[in-house]
């Protein structure tokens, strides 16, 4: 009650010049009509909503299995070292976002400051910043996770240079997240986009060029695996090599005859056709 009393006193001080000074006995209608009281209510509601949304967010993220998903990523571990966690940070962020909105709304309702063009701009800007920060966090976590997954996949390959690949994947994801975040807050970034386009071009065009045969073979391999025009044990001839099929996988077909094993890329199968030898 003392808080309300204090507020009332404050509002009387500020609105003393505007209202008639005679109203000493505060009625409930007058109280509700006070801008400061309204602002307090708005602020209170905002804080309550923020807490609820934060809690809800945390529950939802935990239920969706986010803690297990981000397990082991550097972002999570650095969050842990600060006594927090990824879920905690995202939940807090959403709560603080709502607090911020509530504070701005309260300022607006209380009419303490002239809510002119500047504040309108700020109000419009806040959600963008929020989304940008969220995108950055998600980007970092996904990048770390992608790096982990790729390096896990490549673990069996004992080649030092292969360690470069997970890092390339990681920074690519972070770069894209940065681009999205910057676009969200409306920063000019033509140069970055051009760089990105160049990167994509290199990846797709040169990658396509380098992996052309592998891609062609795997496309043919999909058909071979699904329809199995020939299977293990069949006597076939591909490209002049005749023998018994020993293995068919996505990229190659192995045929063996008299101690010679031919490893034929699957795109040759489509190019030259297959002869099935039946006795």
């Amino acid at each position: 009650m003392s808080v309300l009393g204090g507020l009332l006193w404050l509002s009387q001080q500020t609105t003393a010049t505007a209202n008639q000074p005679g109203a000493d006995v505060p009625t409930w209608e007058a109280l509700v009509n006070e801008p400061l009281v309204r602002a307090a209510v708005v602020l209170f509601l905002g804080i309550a909503l923020g807490i609820v949304v934060g809690k809800l967010n945390r529950r939802l993220l935990t239920a969706a299995g986010v803690p297990e998903m981000v397990e082991g990523t550097p972002f999570e571990s650095s969050a842990r070292s600060l006594g927090s966690s990824t879920v905690d940070i995202v939940a807090r962020l959403s709560a603080w976002f709502i607090y911020g909105i509530a504070a701005l709304a309260a300022v607006h309702v209380a009419e303490i400051v002239r809510t002119g063009q500047f504040w309108l701009g700020v109000v419009r800007f806040v959600p963008d910043v929020f989304v940008a920060v969220l995108v950055l966090i998600v980007g970092f976590v996904v990048a770390d996770k992608a790096e982990l997954v790729v390096s896990e996949r490549l673990r069996g390959i004992k080649l030092p240079e292969v360690n470069l690949l997970p890092r390339v994947v990681k920074y690519s994801v972070i770069y894209v997240a940065f681009l999205v975040a910057l676009a969200q807050v409306g920063v000019h970034m033509l140069a970055l986009l051009v760089l990105f386009a160049g990167y994509l071009f290199g990846l797709i065009f040169l990658g396509g060029l380098a992996f052309r045969d592998l891609l062609r073979s795997s496309a043919a391999g999909v058909y071979l695996l699904l329809n199995q025009p020939y299977g293990i044990g069949d006597q076939i001839e591909i490209d002049g090599h005749e023998g018994v099929v020993q293995e068919v996988d996505l990229f190659i077909t192995q045929i063996e005859s008299e101690g010679r094993e031919y490893i034929v890329p699957n795109h040759r199968v489509f190019k030259t056709g297959v002869v099935r030898v039946r006795q």
Binding site: L225, Q228, G231, I232, G233, V244, Q246, E247, I255
Partner: protein, 270 residues
């Protein structure tokens, strides 16, 4: 307290190589940091990233078998030489390393068990998976009843040409590999079918329900084993495949290669 190092000195003296069986990371670290000491790691997987490593196909329960298999593999790979004195540190009871034994490497008593994995046509991991499957199947059986099974691994093209289908092949147009989690269940169900499973070099299950038709002349397997073992011995003599048999009558798992019985293990021990 008497000086243990002096009392047990003869066990620890003049050791060429220390062989650690499935050590933990910190345990291995301690040994690898010591200078002028050859360390060899044996285990089901190279969890500590050791340079000299011998892979065990199974977690052998019996120590003698574990040591013998590990040393045979090490000899094969050239990590140790015939006549080397080895200190084998392994665990008898649960968990960490608690036992040390002194063994002399003996190159003449090679049983070829390690050969089964290292120089088979099929990938070692595939043979390991199939062996695990057979052991699992032998332990549990089909609904509590003992079952028999015959897996022919590797050289699938030739095996398919030397066998005929007993009925419709349930693995037609499927792409399951041994080691896939679903396979355990599938094979358990299909093991009630008679006939052999054919598995390719890379572990793809090519067919079930095959009747093997190799020529059985000159196959020498111990007396008392049945038709399933005879078929297994014969097909491995005729092709480069490896056969792994789970016996229905005595429940043992046996492995054949080149028409010879190489390995005999009791599923109950694992």
């Amino acid at each position: 307290m008497a000086n243990m190092a002096a009392l047990f000195g003869e066990i620890l003296s003049d050791v060429d190589t220390v062989v650690l069986f499935s050590p933990s990371g910190s345990y291995y670290e301690r040994f690898s940091e010591a200078e002028d000491l050859d360390v060899l790691v044996v285990g089901t997987e190279n969890a500590v990233g050791a340079e000299t490593f011998v892979e065990l196909p199974l977690e052998f329960e019996e120590i003698a078998q574990r040591v013998r298999f590990g040393l045979e593999g090490a000899l094969e790979a050239g990590y140790i030489d015939d006549g080397d004195v080895l200190l084998c540190a392994t665990s008898v009871f649960d968990g960490s390393i608690d036992t040390v034994s002194r063994v002399r490497a003996d190159g003449s008593s090679q049983s070829g068990v390690y050969d089964l994995f290292s120089s088979s046509r099929a990938e070692p991991a595939v043979i390991k998976d199939v062996l695990e499957l057979a052991v699992e199947l032998g332990k549990k059986g089909q609904k509590g009843k003992p079952v028999g099974a015959l897996f022919v691994v590797g050289d699938a093209g030739k095996v398919m040409n030397k066998s005929r289908p007993l009925s419709y092949n349930p693995f037609e147009k499927s792409h399951v590999h041994v080691g896939d989690p679903i396979v355990n269940v599938m094979l358990k169900e299909f093991s009630r079918l008679d006939g052999a499973f054919v598995i390719s070099d890379s572990g793809k299950i090519v067919s079930a329900y095959r009747y093997l038709e190799p020529s059985a002349e000159g196959v020498d397997i111990p007396k008392g084993l049945g038709a399933r073992h005879m078929a297994a011995g014969a097909i491995t003599r005729d092709t480069n495949a490896t056969a792994i048999v789970l016996s229905e009558s005595d429940g043992l798992v046996r492995a054949f290669k080149n028409g010879e019985l190489l390995l005999e293990i009791d599923p109950e021990d694992y």
